[in-house]
Symmetry: C2
Subunit: 635 residues, 2 copies
């Protein structure tokens, strides 16, 4: 964590100085704003935390409810989401309070006495094999609390406008704020009052029944299956020995997906209520909690649940829906001004623990793009990449979830191999962990011409962190963890084999970076810190003691802030043990002749280039950033 | 982290339910209280966080300042202190914001050109070799913030009474509240007003010029040396390559102890100002900051500092003082009612980074004892162990620090071996890490008769945690981290080799624990949770999959709280890999016939006994607890 950069800070370093519109942010929703976020779920709250890092952008977030979410329904947290929490500064806190999934166990009918269930398989959770972060269970309400804190403590000081609901919107063809939005106060002294406000962009993060989606006429394609599930969060005493382990239970009496929750006592159970008649007309949804508990006991036989408290319960039929496009861009090539995220554009079963995670990544994808366009760093066309990148991810999710929820709902006689579900679970592990997303080539992701120089940093996939050693102090840290969700591009310059200060490809690259032709010179606003847009780092192949930091090029030790202080934390050595087999060059199969890896503000790998390919690097940023002439307010 | 135990909790789980005197805690300092803490430094704030876990005790903490400490001077945090932070629930947060000491480097005169300094040694920090926690640097003000949060979020809801200073006290011979204390308001509407209040016990945490110490007539023995140091916290630009590494610099022009601070930019320098004339009369303390900076530059030659901001600076002569006794107990055997902690009873140089740490352990030692006596769990004689245990620790600290600060102040010509300082530093590492403290036999620490059954858990030393596997969910966790600073005794029952449910020494021990003769029955107040006083855990030798939790004795799966919920998190398996060499039985050299390890509420090992030695275990607790007959309010 870096602070004291603008002078000594006495208090909580997680609270950044207010800046721009955050300095005197009006309590009341203004008539005009840059971004209006509709809904304070995971996508909307992440978006507000991200835009709080762009304090020159006026961002507001409205929410129909009159306050904080008290009880959320989502609870599955992929390792990819924990990586995201790390970037927003609260991973260590949420990990400490969450349930950590170490194992998933499978139960099936006892061959000797099929009325009883027996444990058929234990599978160790896959998370640590593909990320340094675990796979967690924690209530959505707490995730929102942490994002709310990040938004409120960022320079933009964004807090939700609770008690305001979205009624409708019209996108006009002209004007600085082309989206006209009708809202109504649902709480407080103005309750019942309707207002019209104008925004440059609107993000519809308003859930499965999205009014924003309806207002822009996008279709939610798909439907509801004829299979019902009961779900309950319960505090119980039980003799079921896996009460604190995630389990898939397949019994003659039906199926249960069992998920222990944070805090050591609570668990969630998804309980198979079986097929629903075609003419049921959602009657199944009135199934009482006693019946759900009775079913759970039947399935768990010979074990029993003594339910002490029901924190929440519901009944639903599995539905799968996805929207054809996630924005309002017209056939005429007009740039989008309204975006859909999360459940507003993709809904599915809860059981793969995906929804909240994919929603947050929608927000992470959209946030920096809005920030860059609205601060003049990027052309408006950048916003077209949002739907282009995220709609296929949602489609993939729906396909995966359909397969998983079908497998989960089978009868024992439909299962030939009792290990089959465990095998599917492990075989597809990278998907539910959140690491299958791979964005295709575009203005912000290059093609794979030079991929072989850094095989372990797949283009279009998230930058997969590795431990390295910080040269200035010998601390072993994750290279990726220095990348905060601050809207900046990252340029990682992996050095050739020469030592710091010796003639080298890295030295030549550093000279070019400092020249007027480099993206740093062209796209950093005048008067801004030299690392305001690009966070540039060098990683040497030597052990850290062998890197003489005095001889490292200055572009990797930039001076910034009102005191012009040197940033010592951008120079790394392969490690933890230098040239050993497990250093970052070996683990990510990086060329020992050096390689440049460019990472987007949302942590996806955008480009892999030789150190010599400066023209290609310049051309890449020419394609997605706008040259900066006039000084703009520093972020 | 365990919660949802009394029903579903929506918000921050680190905020416990208010209870007892915390439910309607008066804002104004009352006329009578159980404990009055004077001073809100590290010892006082830890004490208030600890006593907040005893909400039936009326605890107040007065502080002369009118609010939070803005800039503290201490900053060195031993691994032992981080262990303590873990017990109070904030280790992961403070680690994330602190500077982590990975290396300490040593600099001396260049043999070829003695006017210049050169790096003579690098030593990896020792912390991880003796604790799972690192050695940190973070400002005292932040440490106090976290303890203040723990105190305010505990059931006792303790917040400091700012703006009240201590004037004096008299200990009377009789009455429920024998200590009469005179205080004065220093801020707010009552500023200037004097009051007399009464307390059962007073803790003097009021620093080196302690008024409490003076009031009870204890002597602060020792003096000030004739060697002065300047100290400054500065933001600089510099070509000194180890600006971000802890260094001891020994140059012809003098010595510097250099300590990087949290946040990536700030560092602290202790700069040798040389010998002071006998008739100086503290004139050296007026040395201007420019002179200190000039000296620093002289010592660092050929490197230079360009100071951008001085956050704090001071000049001091090294002093070493220790108080003869840390309480007011009389020669007549009267029990103590006034206690001294921290700088009030031991002061020394800052450079070994010890002060704040030893002060916190004073508070940790005293807190639970006050809590137990005031809730009737323990006899008043327990309080006599405070001074008996902590005074020798302070004496040891003074001796160590005198040696270290003398070594640090030598001239190059006094040094025969340039590695000598590094060798001393590493050779004595366990002391500055906080792990040399070993309490002698007393009513709360048994003698070493059975020590051989658990060689790695030294009697009187802190319980050194090892990773084990939680049986209920397969999570690998540190056994010691489940022990929160909640005032409870821990009984760790390490099993013999039999499996759960088979006839075994552990099974027999568990039966006895559940019997009316056991300490659990005798000392747990009627109506309280079965684990209100004793937190009992079982650790099996098998891999976790081989432990059938259904067959584990019920005493290790207690039901508690208003819902009578089973606690699943008290049953562990040796691990992470069971019978392998690195399991907890091997690492701590535990008898494979089983062993009972009793740990005090402040995490020190109190007893090591065979599973069969139930009579000895009963006798031990008979010596330090009072049998409970009547129901008392549950904690």
């Amino acid at each position: 964590m870096q602070f004291h950069h603008h002078g000594y800070v006495s208090g909580e370093p997680r609270v950044q100085d207010a800046a721009g519109t955050g300095i005197d942010r009006p309590a009341e929703l203004p008539d005009e704003m840059d971004v209006l976020i509709v809904g304070s779920g995971p996508a909307g709250m992440l978006l507000s935390a991200q835009l709080s890092q762009f304090p020159d952008v006026v961002t507001r977030i409205i929410e129909r409810r009159d306050g904080r979410l008290v009880l959320g329904q989502a609870d599955g947290i992929q390792p990819r989401s924990v990586e995201t929490f790390q970037a927003f500064g609260f991973a260590e806190r949420i990990v400490a309070e969450a349930y950590n999934i170490a194992y998933m166990n499978f139960w099936g009918p006892d061959p000797d006495n099929p009325r009883n269930i027996v444990r058929t398989a234990r599978t160790e959770d896959y998370a640590f094999k593909i990320s340094e972060f675990p796979h967690l269970i924690v209530n959505q309400a707490r995730v929102l609390d942490y994002f709310a804190e990040a938004a409120a403590h960022g320079p933009g000081r964004i807090v939700p406008d609770y008690g305001i609901e979205f009624l409708g919107l019209t996108v006009h063809d002209e004007g600085q704020h082309p989206v006209e939005v009708r809202v109504r106060y649902t709480a407080g002294p103005r309750a019942g009052e309707e207002r019209t406000v104008r925004a440059r962009y609107v993000a519809g993060c308003d859930g499965a029944r999205s009014g924003v989606r309806e207002a822009i006429g996008r279709k939610h394609v798909g439907g509801v299956s004829l299979h019902a599930w009961g779900v309950m969060d319960v505090l119980v005493n039980t003799d079921f020995p896996d009460w604190r382990t995630k389990c898939a239970i397949n019994s003659e009496a039906g199926n249960i997906l069992h998920i222990p929750r944070e805090g050591g006592y609570l668990s969630r159970m998804y309980i198979d209520l079986g097929a629903v008649a075609e003419d049921d007309a959602h009657h199944v949804r009135t199934t009482p909690i006693d019946e759900i508990i009775r079913r759970a006991n039947e399935i768990l036989h010979p074990y029993t649940l003594d339910v002490k408290q029901v924190a929440w319960h519901s009944v639903y039929e599995v539905g799968h829906r996805v929207t054809d496009r996630f924005d309002d861009a017209g056939e005429d090539g007009r740039s989008p001004h309204v975006f859909l995220t999360g459940d507003a554009c993709h809904t599915h079963s809860a059981k793969a623990g995906q929804g909240m995670n994919v929603s947050m990544q929608d927000g992470f994808n959209l946030g920096w793009k809005l920030g860059h366009v609205l601060t003049g760093l990027a052309p408006e066309t950048l916003l077209e990449t949002y739907s282009a990148e995220r709609q296929p991810v949602a489609q993939q999710l729906i396909d995966f979830d359909r397969e998983w929820s079908t497998l989960m709902a089978r009868k024992p006689e439909e299962i030939s191999d009792p290990q089959e579900l465990a095998t599917f679970y492990l075989g597809t592990a990278e998907f539910p962990s959140g690491f299958m997303t791979q964005y295709g080539p575009s203005a912000i992701t290059t093609d794979a011409v030079h991929q072989a120089l850094a095989t372990g940093f797949s283009l279009g996939k998230r930058f997969k962190s590795v431990e390295v050693t910080r040269v200035c102090d010998g601390n072993v840290i994750h290279l990726g963890h220095h990348a905060k969700a601050d809207g900046r591009w990252r340029i990682y310059a992996f050095a050739d084999a020469s030592a710091a200060g010796e003639p080298s490809a890295l030295g030549t690259f550093a000279e070019w970076l400092a020249s007027p032709e480099s993206p740093l010179s062209r796209f950093t606003p005048e008067g801004a810190d030299p690392d305001a847009v690009f966070d540039v780092k060098a990683i040497y192949q030597q052990r850290f003691e062998e890197v003489d930091i005095s001889r490292v090029p200055e572009v990797f030790l930039p001076k910034s802030g009102p005191l012009g202080l040197t940033d010592w934390e951008k120079v790394y050595a392969a490690g933890p043990d230098g040239w050993r087999d497990d250093d970052i060059f070996a683990e990510r199969e990086l060329s020992r002749d050096g390689v440049v890896v460019v990472v987007r503000p949302d942590q996806y790998v955008a480009a892999v280039l030789p150190l010599e390919a400066t023209a290609e690097l310049a051309a890449f940023f020419d394609g997605c950033l706008r040259p900066q002439q006039a000084p703009v307010a520093a972020r």
